[in-house]
Symmetry: C2
Subunit: 335 residues, 2 copies
């Protein structure tokens, strides 16, 4: 399909779950602590794309479409799916909160980051609280395939963050290591979300693994696009400060590509310039001219193709259509 | 027994476990990431008292002493006990690392806190890493009584921290709320450690609950003593900055007691004084004269008695003797 779907139509087959998720998230995060309650409300006031819950539901839908003959009433599985979808988003939020401290990011979803508005102390604690609530929910509603998957994923995210921190300001960072960081830091949780939905409904191992690969490729495309938008997007649409990765010494694919090109010396000079605003706009111009932004787009497209290929073994269903559409959407989005 | 034991003799029945724990901790925290590896080495260079691993082993010893007729080779349980002891200490370390950020504590175990030496970013991530490694280990080696206990405890610690944050600078903080915070923030993990050791060896529920109460009372005495030492101890022996709770607006039992006495107005005036050093020494003098430090000691003694009473149902054993000795030790220690 060449026509690009918007998010609303991609989410259409899982509307009922998506509508319930924000309420479940609020329930899980309910606390008598006034300060944290305020933090939760503040954080939830901008829901984001809820991509991870959507993946849980789409994975669940795919699994159910495989076993059309199964008994219909499945209240236990539906409750589990819903709570795991919420927990995945809360888990993601926890990593964002700590990530924003680690990266000194001033803005998140168009609002000042938690650590800016409430101070790093409250942000550390709020991240711990979100993490704790997510873990408790996963252990309550997960099964013995889902729980180990989450533990592995949590470890990978943490490893990815650590690796990223260690590679800051490294002008010799390879594409290979960079991709490994993206896979751990971003793609692993997207893959985990999709597989979680599938595993709630007992999907066979081979198909669940194919979904894991879809999630990983999709996640790579997603993050590469995110990083490209940092140079091509509009700040008010993205709801975050552009160029903050650069300011923190985190080099993303376009920069890594340019550093490996004949323009290497130019990039290094720009990276070492003092004035951040000027440095950022000079770099943007160079990345454009050099073809590095185009290169990143092509890489993302390659990952999208590989993601979609992983769905070939699945019968047609609205859920499969949505996952194919989502893969296309993710590289065409403007925010 | 009136004679006070030192830590070495208290730990004597569990020497072999205690000797193995540091190596297991290092194994669990092994990472290819250079920066985090440095952080781990730095953190482990001062082992602390390893009180939580000791409690795991003492709980395990108590459980084994109850079932003297059980088969001797129990490699699986011994491995589990050892790894859970290490995980409990790592879990504790994770809370300390984040706690020191939250409380802006400059010194821990006689060295600059992680967030001071490595910056808050690395400290946030290191805390997350320690937490993650602990959780993975607990899920690998815990059983279906231990895992829920840890989840509950992790939630309580987080809640306790949040409550403490919310009560900062509250001159109307009641002893009741303060005790609730101490129970959640400190006592719960000590109780959890002791119960974990017991549950590895399948202790019956009633006895395991008695151990939980011992742990809670013991933990209260431990923390009240810690807070009292903040006013009576010597900085170089304690390995931390005195008066830092006060500087952060965290009021501990002696201050709460004094605020509820005829000296209330004096305390309030002192708490609102600008110069921290002067404020701290004025407060010390007042707490001494007012009897508030003595009051805290008496409260701690009360908790010690209640802790020891919980062990009455256990047959004599070296492990029981150590737990009785530990309860006495904790309020007599100077550091």
């Amino acid at each position: 399909m060449t026509q690009t779907l918007n998010l609303a139509s991609i989410y259409a087959p899982v509307t009922s779950g998506m509508e319930s998720v924000p309420g479940i998230i609020r329930d899980i995060l309910k606390t008598p602590n006034r300060r944290i309650e305020d933090v939760v409300r503040y954080f939830l006031s901008r829901n984001g794309k809820l991509l991870r819950p959507a993946l849980v539901f789409l994975g669940g839908g795919l699994a159910r479409s495989l076993s059309a003959g199964a008994p219909v009433p499945a209240e236990r599985e539906e409750t589990a799916e819903l709570h795991l979808a919420a927990a995945t988003e809360i888990f993601h939020a926890a990593t964002l909160i700590h990530d924003d401290i680690i990266d000194s990011a001033p803005i998140r979803r168009g609002l000042p980051s938690l650590h800016v508005k409430w101070g790093p102390q409250t942000a550390v604690l709020a991240g711990d609280y979100f993490h704790d609530r997510a873990v408790v929910t996963i252990f309550r509603y997960g099964n013995d395939r889902i729980i180990p998957l989450f533990l592995k994923t949590a470890g990978e995210i943490c490893e990815g963050e650590m690796q990223e921190l260690g590679e800051k300001n490294n002008i010799n960072l390879t594409e290979e290591i960079h991709f490994e960081i993206l896979r751990k830091k971003t793609a692993s949780l997207l893959a985990c979300a999709l597989q979680t939905g599938a595993l709630v409904w007992g999907m066979d191992e081979a198909r669940a693994e194919a979904l894991g690969r879809y999630g990983n490729y999709f996640g790579m495309a997603f993050q590469i696009t995110d990083d490209r938008l940092d140079f091509t997007g509009r700040e008010n649409e993205l709801g975050k400060t552009l160029g903050s990765d650069l300011g923190e010494g985190v080099y993303t694919l376009p920069v890594i590509r340019c550093l490996a090109s004949a323009d290497r010396d130019k990039v290094v000079r720009i990276l070492h310039a003092r004035n951040h605003g000027k440095r950022f706009s000079m770099l943007k111009t160079l990345l454009q001219k050099n073809g590095a932004l185009e290169y990143a787009l092509e890489k993302a497209k390659g990952f999208v193709s590989r993601a979609k290929a992983e769905l070939e073994g699945f019968p047609e269903s609205p859920f499969k259509t949505s996952l194919l559409g989502l893969a296309d959407y993710v590289i065409r989005r403007e925010r």
